[in-house]
Structure formats: structure tokens, C-alpha cells
């Protein structure tokens, strides 16, 4: 009687038993499972894309951080560099870079002979293994250290970009058949010099800190100066967009009357955030350069244009974070007799600060990666050879910016620049990732719960 399972006459389960799934429940469960599967698929596709992107960038770009160097002992002949022997700096300056070419050639020749290598190459072809910047490097050293004239000094010269490409696998004996810059005999010598330890690949700090170089010297090109350009632009953006953006959002969110005019402003700010950045570029060209006659290619103008572009982002995120502060906090402050402004600045703004900071950093990151508006104000294609030394120079002297530099390298003909473009992307991405990480950490750390 108590053992129900043994009873064969047990009545069938009722129609609406909870133990069996009815049709609708089954369909609903299936729909939910399908939806989860779609979600997982979408995330997987996204992750795979990200993985492909990162591996491509890393595999193509890391080469730029390595450079091929040739170590030579150079005898700084007094007869060539300082004929008078007076060590008068003005006399030494009269020797142009052309005057240094024979010294480099003979140093190269002596190194090859010293190693007992047999080659039919002429001395010009020997020196051709070095970068065209070698003579300039030598001259700069001599001008800085005139007392070294007459002595033999060890130098590390950059190798020519084809030699660098050969060591990195970009240049092969097949690919140079029609290449006037290098011959198979030169490559034979390179092999021998690599074996002897004269030519070697090593980390190249100049890629990160150096300036861009002309089309003929991809091996000497670096990101450093354009990084300074970006830095000065970001200073302008931060100094202008943060106070203007925060003040505008506080006014709109806390003080402005809610009427059709503020509605129009609100809609337009949202629209401005979606305006293509090149439009800001053309606006900057028209207003700052053609009308106000600010200098072309200057980070100040770039910063002003990017400020215009970043403002909507900062205003929208700051307003969102102000809105997220519960009204009870405002009431509490007003209730003890604080003025509207006191309630905003003592209570609402500190609580909204993390969101506000996050928005600002994300806006800055967006501005840092922006290229299109810079095209129109002349910050693309400009090669600044020296890093700015003062604040005003940094703001007003022509410069490039990191994404503009990458764009510039990517469109140059020599494949050696292609590698540098990818390397530049790695540097830019490192900056962006760092900024976004800081934004996330700030938000986590200062977020208050109530």
C-alpha cells in the first residue's frame, strides 16, 4: 500500500504533471539554448578576429624593434678631416658629409681585408652595405669630439635596409634580381661578415625614440618625434576638452532649464559624437589655419581639432556619470542648506568623478588614434628631424603624430617601411591599451556604492 512503485494499477501521471515537460516549455527551453549558442558563436568570432589581429600585428611588427648593425673600426684621418691640424671647430665643420665617405669606405675595406675575406666588390659597393646615415653619424661624432681626430674609434653603423631585410628574411636572393641597391655578391659578403660577427641584429632604441627619416633611409626611421607630436596634442586636448567638457555637462545636467533649446543642444551633442572625424579636420583647416592663420602642421592646431572631436564624447560620458548619482544625494545636500553649486561640487561631482575620468581617458585614447583630421591640417607627410625642446616649440613647430606617422610609412614604396608601420602600430596600441587599463583601474578603485 505504501510502496507505490510496485503497484501495477498506479494511475497514469496527470496531464499537467510537473515531471514531464509540456510542449511550450520545451520550445522555450530550445529557444533559450539556441540564443545562448548564437551568443557564444558571436563571442568566439570576435575573439578569433582579435587573435588574428594581434598575432598579425605582433608577427609583422616586432621586426621593427630589431635592426642590423655593422661594427667597424674607423680611423679618423687628420688629413681628411682637419687639414690645418688646429682642431678649429669651424675648419672641421667645413668638411661636409661627402668628405667622410672615403673614410667610411676605407674602414669597410680594411675590415674585410683584416678578416681575410676574398671579394671582388669595389669599395663603393662595400660601403653600400652601410646606411646612408653612416657618414652623417660619423660627422656628428667628430664635431662633438674633435679631440678624437687621428685616432681609431669603434662605431656601430646601421646597415642598409636591404641588408637588414636579408637578415630578417624579407629580402631573398630571388627578390633582388632587379634591385639596383644590392647584388648577390654583396649578400655573399654579408653572410661572411655575419659569421665573423661584424654584422649583427640587435634591439634598436632609435626606432622608439628617434625621428622619421627620408625615403632612402628606412633603417633610420623612428617614432620618437611623432610621439612627441602626439604628446603635445594630448596636452592641448586634456587642457581644453576636460574643463570645457565637464563645465558644459555640469551646466546642462544640473543647472540648465529643461526646455526645447536644451533638448536641441542635447540631440546635437549626440549627433556631433557621430560626425566623421575628417569633418572636424576640414573645420580646423578653415577656422584655425585659413581664418586664424595658426601655423600649419602644428600640434597646437591638431590638438584644437581633436579637442572639438573629443568634446562630445567627454560631455556625453560626464553627463551619464552625473545622471547616475542618485537624486537623494542632491536632496540631502539641499536639505541641509547647501546651495545648488555646493551640492554639485561637494557631493555630486566627486561621486561622478570616476565615470568622468574614464570618459576623458577614453576620449583621449580616441583622439590619440585619430588620423583623418590630421591629414587636412598638414600633420601627415611632414618629417620633423628633431624632437622639440621647449613647450612653445612643441606646440607650434611642425610635427607629425603617431597614427599619421604610421599612415605615412604604410604608403611609402620601400617594403622596409611596411615593417616599421606595423612596429608603429604596436607602439600606438601599447599606449591605447595602457590608457584604457588606467581608465578601468580608476573606475574600479574610485567607484562608490550607495
Amino acid at each position: 500500500m505504501t510502496d507505490l512503485s510496485s503497484s501495477p494499477t498506479q494511475p497514469a501521471a496527470p496531464e499537467n504533471s510537473l515531471l514531464t515537460l509540456n510542449k511550450r516549455t520545451k520550445a522555450r527551453n530550445a529557444a533559450e539554448r539556441r540564443f545562448k549558442a548564437y551568443g557564444i558563436a558571436a563571442i568566439s568570432v570576435g575573439l578569433i578576429m582579435l587573435l588574428v589581429l594581434v598575432t598579425t600585428i605582433v608577427s609583422r611588427g616586432t621586426g621593427a624593434f630589431q635592426q642590423t648593425f655593422v661594427t667597424l673600426n674607423v680611423e679618423l684621418l687628420e688629413s681628411k678631416l682637419d687639414k690645418s691640424g688646429q682642431r678649429n671647430i669651424e675648419d672641421i665643420k667645413k668638411v661636409t658629409t661627402f668628405g667622410y665617405a672615403p673614410i667610411v669606405k676605407s674602414a669597410m675595406k680594411e675590415t674585410v681585408n683584416g678578416l681575410g675575406l676574398q671579394t671582388g666588390l669595389k669599395s663603393k659597393e662595400l660601403a653600400g652595405l652601410l646606411s646612408k646615415s653612416a657618414v652623417a653619424q660619423l660627422r656628428a661624432f667628430v664635431l662633438a669630439n674633435p679631440e678624437q681626430i687621428g685616432k681609431t674609434v669603434e662605431f656601430r653603423f646601421l646597415a642598409q635596409s636591404r641588408v637588414d631585410g636579408y637578415l630578417k628574411g624579407r629580402v631573398t636572393r630571388e627578390s633582388i634580381e632587379n634591385d639596383k641597391n644590392i647584388s648577390p655578391e654583396q649578400l655573399d659578403l654579408v653572410d661572411a661578415l655575419v659569421a665573423a660577427g661584424v654584422i649583427e641584429k640587435s634591439f634598436n632604441l632609435d626606432f622608439i625614440l628617434g625621428s622619421d627619416a627620408s625615403d632612402q633611409r628606412p633603417e633610420a626611421a623612428g617614432m620618437g618625434v611623432s610621439m612627441m607630436g602626439s604628446l603635445f596634442m594630448m596636452l592641448v586636448v586634456l587642457a581644453l576638452a576636460l574643463p570645457i567638457g565637464v563645465a558644459a555637462s555640469i551646466y546642462l545636467e544640473e543647472f540648465a532649464p529643461k526646455n526645447w533649446m536644451t533638448d536641441v543642444i542635447e540631440v546635437n551633442i549626440a549627433n556631433l559624437a557621430a560626425v566623421p572625424s575628417i569633418v572636424y579636420g576640414i573645420l580646423g583647416l578653415a577656422v584655425f589655419i585659413n581664418y586664424r592663420h595658426l601655423p600649419m602642421s602644428a600640434p597646437l592646431v591638431g590638438g584644437l581639432v581633436l579637442t572639438l572631436m573629443t568634446l562630445p564624447t567627454i560631455i556625453i560620458s560626464t553627463r551619464a556619470s552625473l545622471k547616475a548619482v542618485p537624486p537623494s544625494i542632491r536632496d540631502a545636500a539641499l536639505g541641509v542648506g547647501a546651495s545648488k553649486m555646493q551640492s554639485v561640487f561637494h557631493h555630486v561631482l566627486p561621486l561622478a568623478a570616476p565615470g568622468n575620468l574614464t570618459g576623458t581617458i577614453i576620449g583621449l585614447a580616441q583622439a590619440l588614434g585619430e588620423t583623418a583630421p590630421l591629414l587636412l591640417i598638414g600633420m601627415v607627410g611632414f618629417i620633423a628631424s628633431n624632437a622639440p625642446e621647449t613647450l612653445s616649440e612643441g606646440l607650434l613647430s611642425p610635427n607629425s603624430a603617431m597614427p599619421a606617422q604610421i599612415y605615412e610609412w604604410a604608403k611609402r614604396a620601400d617594403p622596409a617601411f611596411y615593417e616599421r608601420a606595423w612596429g608603429g602600430i604596436i607602439i600606438l596600441l601599447l599606449f591605447l591599451v595602457t590608457m584604457n587599463t588606467v581608465a578601468v583601474i580608476l573606475r574600479r578603485r574610485f567607484e562608490r556604492r550607495w
Partner: protein
């Protein structure tokens, strides 16, 4: 001269603190409060009771002009505090709110330390000249709000970390720290458990000695326990206003009787 002051004071305690004359309030098109006349005495607890949406909280917020921030709100008639019209053009609501402290329905301490919560009002009104005076004000306010013993060892702890009842008493301490003349309480116990409610009610009775207290409540028992005068609002009308004992035992209006016996509301 002294005796004159004394006389004045004695007179004040028996006279009206807040007087509302023919007050009408509109939210856009809806007529939220209709022609209300009420006189709130000093050093008494006045309770506003009535069903939800009858306008009692609205009326309370009008007394310290918290509704100024709502654009579509409009008021006609006079509300007098100590004989002065608080809606006079010359009145700055900030100054008014320092004299009429408001305690909200939901405890809303600032996400700052307990000390900062209480010292905020006195600081912005410049009530303390130095740190020692401020400490004194904070301690006095917390003592009067019957929470000093619980928090004296952790004044630097965040106010939001306290329990609900403690938070509400902290908010009361914050409201009385500026030495207001009127303390307005908008359902101060609705978010509290019975024990915390009892503590707050006890506190209200003590505060009567120094302030004129107006309390909005949904609980008729609470109104009966803490107040000396009761006003019954219904659909925006002030139906009946009189001594609490009379309202609860011998109401004049049939609507009041229906409400307190539980037939409407």
C-alpha cells in the same frame, strides 16, 4: 530689556511658527494641494496623515522650497515662517533651508565619514570657528539624535556603512546640526524596522523641546504616538486639523473618521 526678551520668547513658544494661508499647488495641470490653511505651533510635533498621493509630502517640501527645483511646479497663497512669507522674492531658499531642516523618507547619508556627514551643514554655514567648536557641534548633534554612543568610536567610518535605523538617525543629526527652527520629516520611519522606529519616535519627542517638528507619516499609530496636533489630508484637501487626541477619538469630518477606522485610504 531682558524681561522684554524673555516675554518675547515666552510669547513665541505659544505662537504660530509656520502659517499656511490659502495654499494651492499645481504640478503642470494637476491641482495637487487645494486651498490649505494650517498653523503649526512652535515646540510641538505636528503630524500630517492621509492616504498616498494626498499631497502631504508635497506640502512638506513646499515649506522648505525643495520643490523649487521642479520647473512645472507652481504655488499660490502664502506660507509664513515666523510671519515672513517664504515665497517672497527676496527670500533665498538656501537661507530658508538652513532654518527648516528636512529629513527624507529613505536615509540618504553622504557617502562620506560620519563626522563629515554631520559637520557638512555647519561648515557651509560657517557655524564653527575652529576644529574644537566643530567637534563640539558634531558630538552635540549626534547625542541629540541618540546615536552618539553607537558611533563615537568610528566617526571616520563611512555613514553609508551604518544600519538603516542608524543611518536615519545620522540624517536627523545632520539636519539638526545647523540648528534649524523647524524640523521637517518626510515619513522618516517608513524604511525602518519597529525597533529603529521606536528609537526615532522617542527621539522626535525629545527634539520637540528645541524645534518645531512636522512629520509626515502613513502610520496612524505613529501619528497618535508622537504628535500633539494632526492634520488629515485627502485628495489635496486639508480635511481636518486639530489636537491629535481629538482627531483620533472624536473626528468632526466623516472622511477623517472613515480613514482612521480603516474604511478609506
Amino acid at each position: 530689556m531682558n524681561t522684554m526678551n524673555m516675554m518675547d520668547k515666552a510669547l513665541n513658544t505659544t505662537t504660530t511658527k509656520i502659517a499656511a494661508r490659502n495654499v494651492n499647488v499645481y504640478y503642470g495641470d494637476s491641482h495637487a494641494i487645494k486651498d490649505v490653511n494650517v498653523e503649526i505651533d512652535a515646540n510641538t510635533v505636528t503630524a500630517f496623515i492621509g492616504p498616498s498621493g494626498c499631497g502631504k509630502s508635497t506640502f512638506l517640501r513646499w515649506i522648505n522650497r525643495m520643490n523649487d527645483t521642479i520647473d512645472i511646479c507652481r504655488v499660490t497663497g502664502d506660507i509664513l515662517l515666523d510671519g515672513e512669507d517664504i515665497y517672497d522674492k527676496r527670500v533665498d531658499p538656501v537661507q530658508l533651508r538652513a532654518q527648516a531642516g528636512l529629513v527624507f523618507q529613505k536615509p540618504n547619508p553622504f557617502p562620506k565619514s560620519i563626522y563629515d556627514n554631520v559637520s557638512y551643514g555647519p561648515r557651509i554655514h560657517g557655524l564653527a570657528r575652529n576644529k574644537a567648536e566643530m567637534n563640539e557641534i558634531v558630538e552635540k548633534s549626534l547625542r541629540r539624535a541618540a546615536i552618539w554612543d553607537e558611533v563615537k568610536d568610528r566617526l571616520d567610518a563611512p555613514g553609508t556603512g551604518l544600519s538603516g535605523g542608524q543611518q536615519q538617525r545620522l540624517c536627523i543629526a545632520r539636519a539638526i546640526a545647523t540648528e534649524p527652527e523647524v524640523l521637517l520629516m518626510d515619513e522618516p520611519c517608513s524604511a525602518l524596522d519597529p525597533i529603529a522606529t521606536a528609537q526615532v519616535e522617542e527621539l522626535i519627542d525629545e527634539l520637540r523641546a528645541s524645534f518645531s517638528v512636522v512629520i509626515v507619516t502613513h502610520s496612524m499609530q505613529q501619528a497618535a504616538r508622537v504628535s500633539q496636533k494632526t492634520a488629515f489630508f485627502h485628495l489635496g484637501n486639508l480635511v481636518e486639523f486639530g489636537p491629535t487626541g481629538q482627531i483620533f477619538t472624536n473626528p468632526e469630518d466623516p472622511r477623517t473618521e472613515s480613514y482612521i477606522t480603516g474604511r478609506i485610504g
